[in-house]
Amino acid sequence: MPAEFKDYYQILGVSRDATAADIKKAFRKLARVHHPDVAKDKASAEAKFKELNEANEVLSDPEKRRKYDQLGANWDQPHHGQPAYQQGPMPGASNEFNFGGTGFSDFFEQYFSGASRYGFPEDAFAPGRGAPRERRGSDIEGDILVTLEEVMHGAVRPISLQMSNARTGKVEPQSFQVRIPPGVTDGKRIRVPGQGEPGSGKAAAGDLYLRVRHAAHPDFHTEGHDLYYDLDLAPWEAVLGAELTVPTLDGAIKLRIPAGSENGHQLRVRGRGLPKGKSGGRGDYHATITIHSPSETNAEERELWEKLRSVSNFNPRKAPSA
């Protein structure tokens, strides 16, 4: 199946020996620029944002990155790199299939997707076993990349699925749309009845399962219905407390930072996470504090830090007295 090679290093603008931290930093920087919410040309920004996500998905996963590096320039040579559909956790017969509209490119789908099929025994059509009895078609499972904005508001996604039937040799394309329900969590499977492999004889077709993958976001990550934001603070903001404006998925909010906040502390805002479906409730928003020290200081700042050192009795290496 023809697929255009994707240079994920070039997409993220990093060298081939980039560290995991370099990749994370490059993704966040580019994703902020090309995020559909901020870019002027939303259509092209969305395509670019998905491309960045795909590159990040492969390069930030050590196993996928190793495989990608092995594929190298010979990616399209025969037998070089086994397609993902032959590596699924439950490989079945040799009917191959190809997804479109999942948010991933054909190249990703061919080599890195978690697509798999299961249902028929592997020898269901083996010669010498007589005519196979009527059997329900195999279920097919694939990943679908969903942005957090789509999770917030729900979306309708066009999907195409091409299957080449091992028995008939025919390529059987199917196109349909799937509604992504608001609040769908990462890892959740959306069942699309009857869009899996056709059954034999008059038996029913299998189902298609689309496993939801939340697209990486430059500012947030999710756990269940909760939304997490990395909040960077200056030392004086953590010590003295502050009132800051922080982003959420549905507008900025003011957040009061209590005096004496420490690294890793989480500030929770109830009900500003992802929607919880029909209940109308929402998960929580968590701002995780990271305190950054200035790497450069001018003469006046240095004088003030030195003054603080001389008057403060704070010692982070000394256990607090009982």
Binding site: K24, M90, Y118, F176, Q177, R179, P181, R191
Partner: protein, 100 residues
């Protein structure tokens, strides 16, 4: 499946909170109600809450069970072990993905 308002493609509008009675699950999966009850008694599949009904995750598990039984000839102990390991691998993969 319902017609799409935007174009001619059929639109699937799944309700992730939908649950199904035992009879409907049997029809969806092609597995007999007695076999489903048998799997339930051995802790391989669980109904949602106190309703005794099953959700799409249970349907998915039942299809996996049938595949494992047919292709790997797994018995109940084998099924329990394999399903547990598959769930664990998936959980760890998700945690690696969201944690990085």
């Amino acid at each position: 499946m319902i017609p799409s308002p935007e174009n001619d493609l059929p639109l699937y509008d799944p309700d992730q909170h939908d649950t199904y009675t035992l009879d409907i699950v049997a029809r969806i999966t092609g597995i007999s109600t007695q076999t489903i009850i048998h799997y339930q008694e051995h802790g391989l599949v669980h109904p949602v809450g106190k309703s005794g009904e099953f959700d799409d995750d249970a349907v998915h598990t039942l299809r996996r069970i049938e595949h494992l039984r047919q292709t790997c000839e797994a018995n109940l102990s084998g099924l329990r072990l394999i399903l547990g390991l598959m769930d664990e691998v998936e959980r760890l993969k998700t945690s690696l993905r969201t944690g990085r």
